[in-house]
């Protein structure tokens, strides 16, 4: 008998995975956020204070009316802003070690949104993804493993370590993976709306941009190509993105596609300066390597998220 759409839905979203996946994701995101915050902290007052590049009134005028930011409500003095920085850093550490994990995840998301809305001129695509990732982390069971919360729970409840690792629903991970597919597809649509991506010459420009190239492997010197060479590179970039958006959902080819995707992003990482974008993409891409533990457990999951 053909499985119903309802059972397919359940199999897709409500099977279980090893909960250590979520713990690993928490730690990796904490590291990425720590690097982000360190870089941001260098010019903290320049970006967010009243005497910086964008006072609150201008920031408010430069972004949609419905957006909100804690920094629109706080007084904006350097002291307040420095205290906010210390608080964010403390909550990030707590998140990383898994202390009051869900509370700190929610707070980090609110801080991130607040920072993004307070000065919307300093972010790139990676930051947009990180913000959505942080939102989805709220719904993940991040503290079941490798966390102080787990240690505290164990001491309080006196639960012995089980033989098999705890499991958790896969749906928050699925949403993260679908977000990634959405990102690739959106990038393809944007690219194909540009003449240079359609005619295959975009890569010759990209590898010569001052801010992203020239510091690492000097591709512009290596790729002494003619039109066909550039066209191959340009169109294969679009091809990779289409592949990563769609084929990654085909179980038979998923693993090779993931490995190709990781190589693709590492290639970009070693040739272009795009901050942590490639590492974040690789991290989210790698979650596809996680296999559901028990498709049959859709009815009786062992843990709720």
């Amino acid at each position: 008998m053909k499985p119903s759409s309802s059972s397919k839905w359940n199999e897709f979203f409500f099977t279980t995975v090893d909960a250590r996946v979520y713990a690993a994701l928490r730690i990796a995101i904490a590291v990425i956020l720590a690097i982000h915050l360190s870089v941001l902290a260098r010019n903290w007052l320049m970006w967010f204070s009243e005497s910086g590049v964008l006072d609150r009134a201008s920031a408010r005028a430069n972004i949609d009316d419905h957006t909100q930011s804690l920094f629109f409500w706080l007084n904006g003095s350097p002291t307040t802003l420095k205290l906010c920085l210390v608080l964010i850093a403390a909550q990030l550490v707590a998140f990383g070690i898994g202390l009051a994990t869900r509370f700190n995840t929610i707070c980090l998301f609110v801080w991130l949104v607040s920072l993004h809305h307070r000065n919307n001129l300093i972010w790139e695509g990676e930051d947009l993804l990180l913000r959505i990732v942080c939102f989805l982390l709220i719904f993940m069971p991040l503290s079941q493993h490798w966390s102080l919360d787990a240690v505290i729970r164990k001491r309080r409840d006196g639960v012995a370590t089980p033989d098999s690792p705890p499991t958790a629903f896969v749906w928050p991970l699925r949403l993260l993976q679908l977000e990634l597919s959405c990102l690739y597809l959106s990038a393809v649509i944007q690219k194909l709306s540009g003449e240079y991506w359609r005619n295959g010459t975009a890569i010759q420009y990209v590898i010569r941009l001052d801010d992203v190239s020239g510091h690492r492997v000097p591709l512009a010197n290596l790729l002494d190509y003619d039109l066909i060479g550039y066209q191959l590179l340009t169109w294969s970039t679009v091809g990779f993105e289409i592949m990563l958006a769609f084929l990654i959902w085909v179980p038979q080819v998923r693993r090779p596609i993931i490995y190709l995707g990781i190589v693709f992003h590492l290639g970009i990482e070693f040739t272009m300066d795009l901050f942590l974008f490639q590492w974040l993409m690789i991290l989210v891409l790698a979650t596809h390597l996680v296999s559901p533990l028990s498709p049959g457990a859709a009815i009786n999951p062992t843990k709720n998220p």
Binding site: F14, S58, G125, C182
Partner: protein, 175 residues
């Protein structure tokens, strides 16, 4: 809360989240889709779940090589100039730690960020413009985008070529 109710609520959340990101991200046909996007926009803005554009060097990559100049015009006619960094001249590490400046000087020139121009001009006057050799007061601040030609292009560049300088904001000052 019962498991069944929890499952229903989770399903509603999944459908709502996926629906919102789809509506927000993809250009749909006709005005009905645009109206739908406008309808969900306030919710996405408020919650911080807006998707933005994943443009990644698209669509027109050759417009992206530039730096910003801030010109202070003094009463005696002297001009003092500050230039944003040319990222190619910096090391890999320096570009990494100054990534927010890279983004800022890329975004500030865009027309849709015009509400931010007066604040940046004011900041530039206070913090960026080097001290003048004369005591003549500044009477105007001008923000200029300088398109930098891409080096060693093997293929023909855009025809007609992009303008190399574009003044995008002038702020007269009362000394």
């Amino acid at each position: 809360m019962s498991t069944k109710l929890k499952r229903h609520l989770t399903n509603v959340f999944i459908v709502a989240f996926l629906g919102l990101i789809f509506i927000d991200t993809y250009p749909g046909p006709g005005s009905a889709w645009k109206n739908l996007q406008n309808g969900v926009d306030p919710l996405l803005d408020f919650t911080g779940l807006w998707q933005g554009r994943w443009d990644l060097f698209a669509p027109d990559v050759d417009r992206q090589n530039h730096h910003i100049e801030v010109v202070a015009i003094h009463r005696d006619g002297e001009r003092t100039v500050w230039r944003s960094p040319v990222w190619r001249d910096l090391s890999c590490f320096q570009t990494f730690v100054r990534i927010r400046e890279v983004e800022f000087y890329d975004r500030i020139r865009q027309e849709w960020n015009s509400p931010a121009w007066p604040a940046f001009a004011d900041y530039a006057r206070r913090e960026l413009i080097p001290p003048s050799e004369t005591d003549s007061p500044i009477i105007e601040i001008e923000l200029i985008e300088v398109i930098r030609p891409l080096a060693d292009l093997r293929l023909p560049a855009r025809q007609p070529p992009l303008p190399s300088r574009r003044s995008f904001y002038q702020q007269p000052l009362v000394p």
